[in-house]
Symmetry: D2
């Protein structure tokens, strides 16, 4: 009964099989392995972007920070939501990698709006040497609250950015969960909607630890390579990153694991609604549910060994009926039986 | 016939087995996995250091840069050899992670001497606000030229550092190759000889990509954790780093692979001496050989498909007898047959 | 009729006299001049802080950034108001000097409240390696909107900071304007109220370009000296900074110029109230007035050559009655006659 | 008898007169003052560079660090001499401002040679992501040892740099001392000889604290402005920097003070040769003399109150005949009488 995060579950066996298969003989190091050649071609095909620059790193924070550092000068500000992973969960890694760029929080909540973005951008006067200069837009798909930008919403945001000549980065740690929920193509969700660079998360969706960074305009390729090396994120035995991504993309495994996780999320959401006192925030769209449950129910769940994010407290002391906020994440491997067990414990 | 680097070969099957074994069920993320508990205990035992702070990262550059950034202020200078990996091969990662510390090259060649170190340290006047402040000593064991500091040599260097109240970091990318060559204990080669922090390399010696960073004084532990996260080097599915290290340390695999690599290095060195015109630089002590061969011999080797580092050129044009510098590295997996094949091609 | 900023006016003649007086013979450079000895003693006496570390720099941004970089680690967040100079007007200098620390905006407007501060601090969970770590409180006295924290308000804020073991920095670019308005002592407005470090602005109040940075706990002294040199803010001919500050502090000139500027501010505010359509925001407490005037009135003022900050527009096009926001600053040298002329032009 | 540095002496009265003259009425701040308009035009004329971007800062370290940060990426290495001020005397400011670029020391001593530079450049393999990337050449004119590059020597160095597509920066802290010694034009010593950017020192040659930074290709202008502000080096009351530079350049004062300093240097050098046991290193070409004197002579000089740089010691203990290294600098204001007094004390 572990709903702590989609990084608490195991990797998919097919990903490990690809790693084992790659573990034979000699390979050029530092990204020159032949496995990477295949991965690069595969990602370009999936994104319908034959010129794209494609790189692998091992963590989502590395993907975000390195990509943004190619798009923001040290004197710039990135525009993001107040819930953005780059703002809330990366211990100043974006500031570190950009050399001190600022993050401007555009509006409230996890989803940016064109109006909020416009207000944030124009809050910094263009051409004034005293202020932070306008830098890239960063949006997370799916968001940190488990919601999705529609293609039209993405386009509306990048349109605002482009009005001010600003590029857009998409944090795609849960890219595929959003993609299968929307039912669009990777190209439609990214460059066709005005996105300039995106990360394609693997770690949360069946891999051990790999994320692709994709620049649709390859002019930043060499700078990214230098930044990756200087950030100590260039793997010597790179084939093991390549192989994970290869296994992940082969036979549409990435889509299958995301569909599985989303389906379990929907199932859990439906079943959670049966629990007395449950109040589900936002309409769950991928594999994450934010909800409140009465303190007494949390106590039962903890007693039963359930693991999940509890954002309010204390657990042990207070009104048993007080609603406390929780986050539940279904990874690709969770079973309906575990969900049923969780619901049973809550009842 | 690949002698390009010890990062071109495969991981040891036992390391992969440990990864596969760890790929089951749920685990706390970000280093709180139970596998890491075992690894921490194991490393503390191996180093006879029950209080040591032990962390894992995926690359040697990350290990070096993060460790040094806990030991050097941005206004300090690190003291290292002119051949040091941190100076020659990390694209300014140490400067990046330390926030702009300088590297002072102490003497010539790959091995520091107490005299050279003392001269370098005293070249920066203590307490003068205008100059780089004296920071940590960084030495590589085994060195970038495949040589070893004896325990006495290490102690002589750390003694100089301590005279100036400076800490010592050991880049142990090839720690185990040196250890088995010296036949001493990890404690003797590190903290008993005055080393304050060390990296224990796994990637070059049988793992896919994992290095341990060990601080014998744990007071820097929390700072290291923050720097690792901020540097984007904290793995979410950390169990896969832990498992590699677990497999590596179990049943003395790490010692076995290093012994194997060193033995092949000795074999290659002996056989290379048979080749006409071969001139072996330094006495090979671990798994690396620096040598010159006539251009014509290099041409034969390349024609036969041999892979190795050629540092002088051009290969195709010039006096066939001109000696050109090469580096040959034997990883744990190379066979005597491949060496024989290489020698045959050279003859 | 220049109300653009208190940095548009001239330096006080007595400050220049001190500079001329210091321009004779030889002096040790880099802060070891004898003039600085006197300044240090004078500031310690004024602040009743015999142990304080006292340094001079030439710009307010340097004072803020260097001081904060001694108080915030790169992985920390500074807490400040959304109007703070360090947030709005320094082109990411605080981020640069701290090595990438974040600024968390605590509440709305120019004045922090204990509740807003507490909410901001607790928004970052202590001891969580993923989030920005809690760093110093930074408040501006007088604020960017020309308002003042009372001593009790300062104490209430630093009390919250201390509850979380966080230090407090006061940006005192207009320290003296606030001081004379409150009628308290420098000690009461700073360390007695819980402030750990403060800048004492000279540039806006009669000097050419000098700010003192004062640490009441001198343990950061050497770090500040290193950061100042590394930031290229240590003057070789430091005597010219010292002399300005000496002239500024002698015979209470600093108090006199601030009183003059505040008095002119009050006079301007009173007279502005006579202008039809004038709407004065906040109660002006020092030498700055924020007000709206109808567009038509702004047009008349511009035609008459008045200089001031106009924050809304366009000036030339739109409803003549639409109120547009302006900022008026009285520097120490502005005359009542100029104010009268300004009011006449507005009528 | 102060030969400590050319920053120990006073500013020239004409510079202060210009400051006093500028201290009247209102001026736009942050470099938009009308005095700066004149200075910009004057410098462009002096350098025969009508398009040049011209900026003022207050310290030589700021000039060097800011200029280099516009020319070197964080993953680059700057090439300089082992005696370069940026290497020896700036407490890692260049590393700080460039975001962690490395300094590669090209050859021995204070003067670079084309061969040494070429060796240094080619020591970093172009296009290898693992190594520091090749960045700008930085040379100091006059050098830190008081020597001069001829125009031909400068051209020979920049020619090597250009072969590798690298730009050249000239640290001109003592630009004018070199200029008048060579008897060439500013254009001949800079852009006509291949220099891309230069600092024109004022602080050591008659000003209080001002240096111009000149980019002959103005494409870096806006980046420099942002870096200057972000580095906290943009003066609010900028007119006081402008006025110093204006006074300095008017009526060829800058040339006159440099000639005066150089003449005193020559006089001192000649007279020093009379002192028994004096051994003058390098041929003094500007206003600096490096020489050894017997310990006993140093003792006499110190007893007489002479101030200068003593680089070896101890002063008080040891063989009275042992030669100890000293540096003597003549600033523009030193008199022949003081030199005579110094020589008398040494005899």
């Amino acid at each position: 009964m572990n709903f702590g995060s989609d990084n608490c579950g195991p990797a998919h066996p097919a990903v490990l099989d690809a790693v084992i298969k790659a573990n034979s003989g000699y390979q050029a190091s530092y990204g020159a392995d032949t496995v990477m050649d295949g991965v690069r071609a595969q990602i370009r095909e999936i994104f319908e972007a034959p010129e794209a620059a494609v790189y692998l790193v091992a963590t989502g924070t590395a993907a975000n920070s390195l990509a943004l550092s190619c798009m923001a000068q040290p004197w710039d500000t990135v525009f993001c939501s107040e819930m953005a992973h780059i703002q809330r969960d990366e211990c100043n890694a974006p500031e570190f990698y950009t050399g001190g760029a600022k993050l401007t929080l555009a509006g409230e909540g996890d989803k940016l709006t064109p109006e909020g973005l416009k207000t944030a951008i124009t809050s910094w006067v263009k051409g004034d040497v005293h202020v932070s200069q306008r830098g890239p837009l960063a949006l997370t798909q799916a968001t940190e609250n488990g919601r999705i930008y529609t293609v039209a919403e993405i386009e509306a945001l990048t349109t605002v950015a482009k009005q001010y000549s600003l590029p857009t980065y998409m944090d795609g740690a849960r890219f595929t969960n959003a993609l299968v929920a929307l039912g669009c193509t990777p190209a439609e969700m990214t460059w066709k909607a005005g996105v300039d660079a995106v990360s394609l998360g693997g770690s949360k969706n069946g891999c051990m630890g790999v994320e692709a960074v994709i620049f649709f305009d390859p002019s930043k390729a060499w700078e990214f390579e230098l930044r990756r090396k200087r950030g100590a994120h260039l793997f010597s035995k790179h084939r093991y990153l390549s192989a994970q991504m290869q296994g992940y993309l082969t036979d549409d495994l990435w889509l299958a694991t995301a569909r599985m996780a989303n389906a379990r999320g929907a199932y859990l959401s439906n079943r959670l609604a049966e629990v007395e006192g449950a109040n589900i925030l936002y309409e769950p769209q991928v594999n994450m549910i934010f909800a409140t449950l009465p303190r007494a129910t949390h106590q039962k769940l903890h007693a039963a060994g359930a693991v999940y994010g509890l954002f309010e407290g204390p657990l042990d002391d207070g009104d048993p009926n007080e609603p406390l906020l929780m986050r539940l994440v279904c990874d690709w491997s969770i079973s309906e039986a575990e969900i049923d067990q969780f619901i049973a414990a809550a009842k």
